[in-house]
């Protein structure tokens, strides 16, 4: 319980830090810090400036502290300002269009690739002397050093452009009625290549991590004991080796999450997949600062919550953590 509360406190604090970073970024930039954001709004209609100013607490008369307070209040109420590029839509509303796509693509792929990578890692460590194991270690290390977005480009080139198996970009066929079976099919077809990109490039990391942990665990005495007990190998592998090896893997998952999410965002950009990553790309190009910052905040919050979930998973899996021993 103490562990749970500590992790919950950590979640709250990291969220707070992210929100604060979001506030200070425009103000810490070279030049007149407090006005950095306002300057970017030059030439916009006054009512637009007004709404952004209110949301960001940029009332020029206020001190930084008052601005910060107002900003915090607004953020907590979910008011993140108005998008420049899609005026007068509030950024939260703009964001809401993109979120389902990202959750559907990124979250799903990450779960799949973590599960798959972990399974392959277990197998590769269990049979580490075999050719196949060493080959897959080599292969995955090589694939892992590809930049995500580049792998995406290659996939588009071969599978979409050359072989014409999949669409080149987007998330669904605009010609179909939303919600129809054909539309869902098109969603699948559009999602395949981005999903493949994310999975292929992230599986390697999980796999290598799990393999290393597993090799370390296999050298532990309790594995020898399990073998000495004549337990079925399946049980030794699952409950003695893998269950112990996955603990550092889950922690590692939490720490690498940010990195993989970053890769996912780039993948969306390459495939013009209408999730938050592509939206971030558009926001950058359109210099839509409120939208950009809202996206950062959303991604940060999502990653932090996922991290928290991983911590809880560790708590469930590891009795030592449950007792607050570690």
């Amino acid at each position: 319980m103490k562990y749970f509360l500590r992790k919950l406190g950590m979640l709250a604090f990291t969220l707070f830090v992210s929100i604060s970073i979001n506030f200070f970024i425009p103000r810490l930039m070279p030049g007149d810090p407090a006005r950095a954001l306002l300057d970017k709004m030059e030439g916009l209609p006054p009512e637009q400036i007004e709404s952004v100013r209110a949301a960001f607490g940029l009332d020029t008369g206020d001190s930084l502290l008052v601005q910060y307070g107002k900003y915090l209040g607004n953020t907590l109420r979910g008011d993140l300002g108005v998008s420049f590029s899609r005026f007068p839509m509030p950024v939260t509303q703009v964001l809401r269009i993109a979120i389902p796509w990202t959750i559907g693509l990124l979250a799903l792929c990450m779960v799949i690739s973590f599960a798959l990578g972990t399974a392959i890692g277990i197998a590769a460590a269990w049979k580490r002397e075999t050719r196949l194991a060493s080959f897959s270690v080599g292969l995955f290390s090589f694939i892992r050093s590809f930049p995500y977005f580049w792998l995406g480009l290659i996939f588009i080139y071969f599978f979409a452009f050359r072989l014409r198996l999949f669409p080149i970009g987007g998330a669904y066929a605009v010609t179909e009625t939303r919600g129809s079976a054909a539309w869902w099919l098109s969603v699948l077809r559009h999602g395949t290549l981005p999903a493949l990109t994310i999975c292929v490039s992230s599986i390697g990391g999980w796999m290598l991590m799990m393999r290393n942990n597993m090799i370390n665990v296999l050298a532990e005495d309790y594995i020898t004991v399990a073998l000495a007990k004549g337990l079925p190998l399946r049980r030794v592998k699952a409950l003695y080796a893998a269950k112990n090896a996955i603990l550092p893997s889950v922690t590692g998952f939490a720490m690498s999450l940010g990195f993989v999410v970053g890769g996912g965002l780039l993948t969306e950009m390459v495939f013009s997949y209408p999730g938050v990553g592509y939206m971030l790309y558009q926001a950058v190009n359109a210099k839509d600062y409120p939208l950009m910052q809202a996206i950062f905040l959303f991604i940060a919050a999502a990653v932090l919550v996922a991290n928290f979930i991983a911590d809880i998973a560790v708590m469930i899996l590891d009795p030592r953590v449950r007792d607050g021993a570690a």
């Binding site: 950590m10 990291t14 830090v17 050093s145 999410v261 950009m269 950062f296 940060a300």
Partner: protein
């Protein structure tokens, strides 16, 4: 000590392979001017050739007055030199062929030369950022791990906080605010967002070493902290520090390429990332110009693999369990 470390690295097959690839790219970066057939942004070759250089016939200008003893004649000699200046514009978006082994881009610049010159930027940004991150995190780790107490609590707490805040979106937002003028902002941004992970690992190592007997003994004998840190702790951290350096460099090369690919770098600088940016911006993909976007990515991947291989070697050296028998 560092020499010993490199000797063991060279003896391990994986890290040797990695070091060779790395050395190759460093070599290309260093000798880019010699290796690249053209300057990075040249879109034409200008050649000037002397085509005619003849001395004309002497021409009598005036004949002096004749007298019995003297004859005066004045000549003018004109020299004609004719030059021919040829400007060969490179073809735009050319396929690989003679003269342009990797074709040309939308502006008619030679892609092979760009790749060679780009190596310079990418490798130096990678290594510089790697060095920056390593030094930063090593300092933090030593301070936190060695000093302990409240200082350690503060540093580790913030390390843990920043560890979980996703880096790339943060980098993108910061980069969008900063007007990128060169590679320095990229190094700074990547460096300032890349420190938490290595700091955490290094700090753990410092703590382990601090509890070792030989360090405990020196400390109880009242050795100066600088002695303990630089003579006893650091030398035993070489392999982990190097591993962090290589890992950070790899992350930096990827990060740089990503930023530039999105167009957040300085797109007028020629690097692997910007080549990809221009390739994407000009639809290289959908015109089938694989020679445009394939090579830079392969270079990044190859360099990344080099770092991974070196670290595999380091892992095997420091963790006997991973060693193959």
């Amino acid at each position: 000590m560092i020499k010993d470390f490199f000797l063991t690295l060279v003896r391990n097959r994986k890290s040797l392979a990695g070091l060779c690839i790395l050395a190759f790219f460093v070599f290309v970066a260093a000798f880019a001017p010699l290796l690249a057939p053209h300057p990075a942004k040249a879109d034409r070759v200008v050649t000037t050739k002397l085509v005619k250089a003849e001395t004309g016939d002497p021409e009598t200008v005036a004949e002096g007055e004749a007298s019995d003893v003297r004859e005066v004649e004045t000549y003018r000699v004109t020299t004609v030199r004719e030059y021919e200046k040829t400007t060969d514009y490179f073809p735009l978006k050319a396929k690989p062929g003679k003269g342009h082994p990797l074709g040309t881009n939308h502006a008619g610049q030679d892609l092979f030369s760009q790749l060679v010159w780009g190596t310079r930027v990418s490798v130096s940004v990678g290594l510089a950022t790697g060095l920056f991150v390593t030094l930063l995190s090593l300092t933090l780790a030593l301070v936190a791990g060695y000093a302990g107490g409240i200082l350690d609590d503060i540093i580790s707490f913030f390390t843990n906080v920043f560890l979980v805040i996703p880096g790339l979106p943060l980098i993108i937002v910061i980069a969008a605010y900063v007007a990128m003028k060169g590679v320095l902002p990229i190094v700074l941004i990547l460096g300032l967002t890349g420190w938490p992970y290595p700091t955490r690992l290094l700090r753990a190592q410092v703590l382990t070493l601090k509890s070792r007997d030989f360090v405990r003994v020196s400390r109880s004998l009242g050795e100066r902290p600088s002695f303990v840190i630089f003579r006893e702790i650091l030398p035993n951290m070489i392999s982990i520090v190097m591993a962090e350096f290589f890992a950070s460099s790899m992350a930096a090369i990827m990060g740089e390429a990503s930023l530039e690919f999105i167009g957040l770098g300085n797109v007028t600088v020629v690097s692997w990332g910007t080549i990809l940016y221009w390739a994407q911006a000009n639809g290289a993909l959908l015109s089938g110009a694989w020679w445009w976007f394939l090579p830079p990515g392969l270079c990044i991947a190859l360099l990344g693999t080099a770092f991974v291989l070196v670290n595999f070697g380091i892992d095997e050296i420091s963790n006997p369990r991973l060693r193959k028998r």
